[in-house]
């Protein structure tokens, strides 16, 4: 087996098939990053998986999963002003959490340098929106590099680190989902570990670091001056790629993954427009773009998500009075979704049909395949909990969801979740919904990682302002959705064992008077507790606790004497009420056309949580396979 850790630490140059998220770790090592922080969120957590592959004692930099993206950004900032090159990475919407700190970074003299890696998610593959974080980069005067593939991820991180260290500014490396996850053979350079100066280099003379009232202005002047300097540096042609076909009529300005989609389209259509592919996308290389505009009769700005550079390029043409027709976004659909080759083909066809590839013919017949939405794993404790909670609530009661695996409780047949916003928002929303509301109970859900991430302020508020709501905390001991990262109550951090910060202890410390706690799989007890909690006048919390079953089973399977088990159906006893399928709905159960039920051996993990859901007691105890 190849050791990816050895590969990432190789002194020699090498090539290897890796995804973008792995390539960036080698770039961090080569660039001399000293402190790296994150909060898990797709599409970036595999960066941490690659780091985790390297033994702690061999790791050339410090890494932590912080409590949330804002804290992660602060830790990286603190390290940078102490002289260490730092990096923080998180998902698209993580920047909203980090924003309060992030928007200040460009005001500061980051003597060690700092790279902010953003995992944007066009296509909303695993996010609650498709937000285009280039807006926040502009708002905070922060330059952006945007790679198109893993090779560029590796190269652009190194370029971002150099720029960041040279001007002591934050620099963004903006990745998108399929750049993070794309796999390609990447050529890596040699690496010679450098001696590391551990002296804490922080010095107020490097500041000011205190942005307060009028002190803000010199800092803002500095930030804007730096941005101007970067704008000049961005004219360096080496940062961009010009695909010249000597086409005086058609030019396309693009960047990132849509560039690759475009090349695939043109390879098929045989079209030969000139292409200016930008590597640094903020600030823009104005001279380079102006020249490109002058050299073409028409220019198409092919830009995924929002029309940011389209606006800038139009302004440039206007200011410089360049006679060129500029095409950009045409309709609402051009603002939505990932710019795959299929999408780019449609966009091209609307503007220059002669260079758009013809769509491949779809079969002229169809088969209705039922949709397969994501769902909770077989044996998942959340399923057991939702099943029990549902028994305690009326149809008219309000159920507020939060982010995590338990979000999936919103689906039928549970319908436990009717509103979703973002990390930790459920308690606050529930509080608002409880006002002037004497008839409908309000229940909200929260996971344990999210409890620490952004959940606590909403809980404090519920206590402080005496809101009448019930919070159900689904405590599974891990950050399950993103791949089982440890959190403050896990008893381990990324690097070592640590004291658990118990969720219950925090609630008690805050003064929550009504706390109920039960094992997730004890459904009757959980139902009773939720009923009691809802009846409380004021704020009550129910903790439904069990280690994540997926994680637990994986750990058990690794043990030598592991014995796989599964449940079975007692066909004599089964009277086909179908509670196992219609109400409990574990994916393990198979519904036959004649209404009989079976257990799918591919799926059953033998937890037995379904036994208590069958009114006819027709599910047999788990037995050895």
């Amino acid at each position: 087996m190849k050791s990816f850790a050895d590969m990432l630490l190789s002194r020699e140059a090498f090539s290897e098939i890796v995804m973008g998220n792995t390539a960036v770790v080698r770039a961090m090592i080569e660039a001399g990053a000293r402190v790296v922080t994150s909060y898990p969120g797709s599409p970036t957590p595999e960066i941490a998986s690659a780091i985790a592959g390297i033994k702690a004692e061999d790791r050339p930099f410090y890494f932590e999963f912080s409590t949330n993206e804002k804290v992660a950004t602060e830790v990286a900032y603190g390290a940078s002003v102490n002289g260490h090159l730092s990096t923080v990475f998180f998902k698209s919407v993580g920047l909203n959490v980090a924003a309060d700190t992030f928007v200040q970074l460009s005001l500061m003299n980051l003597i060690g340098g700092m790279v902010v890696i953003l995992g944007d998610d066009p296509g909303a593959n695993s996010s609650q929106n498709e937000q285009d974080n280039r807006h926040l980069a502009r708002l905070s005067y922060t330059p952006i590099f945007e790679p198109a593939n893993p090779q560029e991820v590796y190269q652009y991180y190194k370029a971002a680190a150099i720029l960041s260290r040279q001007l002591h500014i934050p620099v963004i490396l903006r990745l998108t989902t399929h750049v993070c996850h794309a796999k390609q053979k990447v050529n890596f350079a040699a690496w010679q570990p450098a001696d590391f100066d551990k002296t804490p280099a922080f010095d107020v003379k490097n500041g000011p670091y205190m942005p307060l009232t009028s002190l803000v202005f010199p800092m803002k002047r500095r930030a804007l001056g730096n941005l101007q300097q970067v704008a000049e540096m961005s004219e360096n042609k080496g940062l961009h790629q010009l695909v010249g076909n000597e086409n005086p009529r058609q030019g396309i300005v693009t960047f990132g993954m849509p560039f690759l989609s475009l090349l695939d389209c043109l390879a098929e259509s045989g079209g030969k427009p000139d292409i200016l592919k930008l590597g640094m996308i903020y600030p823009l290389p104005q001279k380079l773009i102006a020249e490109f505009l002058r050299n073409h009769e028409e220019v198409f700005v092919l830009e995924e998500l929002d029309d940011i550079i389209e606006g800038e390029i139009k302004r440039l043409a206007f200011e410089q009075q360049i006679k060129v027709k500029i095409h950009g976004k045409t309709d609402i659909e051009s603002w939505i979704g990932e710019y795959t080759a299929d999408k780019v083909a449609v966009l091209l066809a609307a503007i220059w049909p002669e260079i758009a590839p013809k769509p491949a013919a779809a079969p002229d017949f169809s088969v209705a395949v039922p949709p397969r939405p994501a769902q909770m794993c077989p044996g998942c404790g959340h399923r057991s909990a939702f099943h029990a909670v549902k028994q305690a609530l009326g149809d008219d009661d309000i159920k507020v969801a939060d982010i995590g695996c338990h979000t999936l409780g919103f689906m039928p047949p549970y319908n436990m979740g009717q509103l979703l916003m973002c990390m930790g928002a459920s308690t606050g929303i529930a509080a608002g919904m409880s006002l002037f509301n004497a008839s409908r109970s309000v229940v909200c859900f929260l996971g344990d990682s999210t409890f620490f991430h952004a959940g606590i302020p909403g809980i404090v508020n519920a206590l402080f302002n005496k809101h009448n709501i019930t919070l159900i905390i689904m405590e599974n001991g891990t950050t399950a959705m993103t791949g089982h990262q440890d959190h403050a109550a896990s008893g381990r951090n990324f690097n070592q064992a640590t004291d658990k910060i118990p969720v219950r202890g925090v609630l008690e410390g805050l003064g929550v008077k009504h706390i109920y706690e039960v094992d997730t799989y004890q459904q009757e007890k959980l139902t009773e507790m939720v009923k009691e909690a809802v009846a409380v006048e004021g704020f009550a919390v129910v903790i439904a606790r069990h280690p994540c079953m997926l994680k637990l089973m994986r750990e058990q399977r690794r043990k030598e004497n592991f014995q796989a088990k599964m449940v079975s159906i007692d066909k004599q006893a089964c009277n086909q009420t179908h509670a196992c399928v219609s109400d409990f709905a574990c994916p393990t159960f198979i519904m036959h056309e004649d209404g009989s039920i079976d257990v799918n051996p591919d799926l059953c993990i033998g937890d037995g949580s379904c036994l208590q859901t069958c009114p006819a007691k027709a599910i047999n105890r788990p037995e050895n396979r």
Binding site: K185, L260, A341, A360, P373, A374, P413, V581, A585
Partner: protein
């Protein structure tokens, strides 16, 4: 070389990541230029998952376009038809592992499941080549992906890839008992 696009599908938890990584690396061991990408994140939880592999010289994005996959590989029957309907190119080949993980609407009796016959009818209508794979005595259902891989290798469904390329790729990615069991079964099936 002509571009060869492969679209893989399955249900989260079936081990699509491993089979796609093996094929990608096998292509590399065969000296072919190849790109790939997998689904990660939320969709993994029991939902539909996919991987894309592209082999050839003039390829750029790792994503396969609709109806342009020469080969669709599926780990599950429902997903096989869904993937083939959306991605298979004219004269393309579908190879799938014949297990059924009923989607939620089927279990709730709100939709009809897909039968083996429907897969056959679909391929016949579309003039697609069809390979159905099923292995009766698997020691662990998580090895279905390797049984499928063996069928792909045996029937030479990816042009230019030979047994040794697949084996090298498996050696890259697995070790110890896992490698032993999977490689042993792979060899016994090809």
């Amino acid at each position: 070389m002509k571009i060869f696009n492969i679209y893989l599908s399955g249900v989260g938890g079936q081990g699509i990541g491993l089979i796609s990584e093996i094929i990608l690396r096998a292509a590399d061991h065969a000296g072919l230029n190849a790109l790939g990408v997998d689904t990660h994140g939320l969709a993994q939880r029991g939902g539909m998952v996919s991987s894309h592999i592209r082999i050839g010289e003039n390829i750029h994005s790792p994503l396969v376009s609709k109806h342009k996959a020469e080969l669709v590989i599926s780990l599950e029957r429902h997903e096989a038809v869904r993937a083939a309907a959306d991605y298979l190119a004219e004269n393309g080949t579908l190879v799938y592992y014949n297990t059924s993980w009923q989607p939620l609407p089927v279990r709730l009796k709100k939709a009809q499941g897909i039968s083996e016959q429907q897969v056959e009818d679909f391929c016949q209508k579309g003039a697609f080549r069809l390979f159905k794979v099923y292995q009766n005595d698997l020691p662990d259902p998580r090895m279905q992906n390797i049984a499928l891989l063996a069928a792909i290798c045996k029937n030479k469904l990816v042009a230019g890839l030979a047994v040794e390329h697949y084996q090298k790729a498996m050696n890259d990615l697995m070790a110890g008992r896992m490698l032993e069991t999977n490689l042993g079964m792979f060899k016994s099936l090809i």
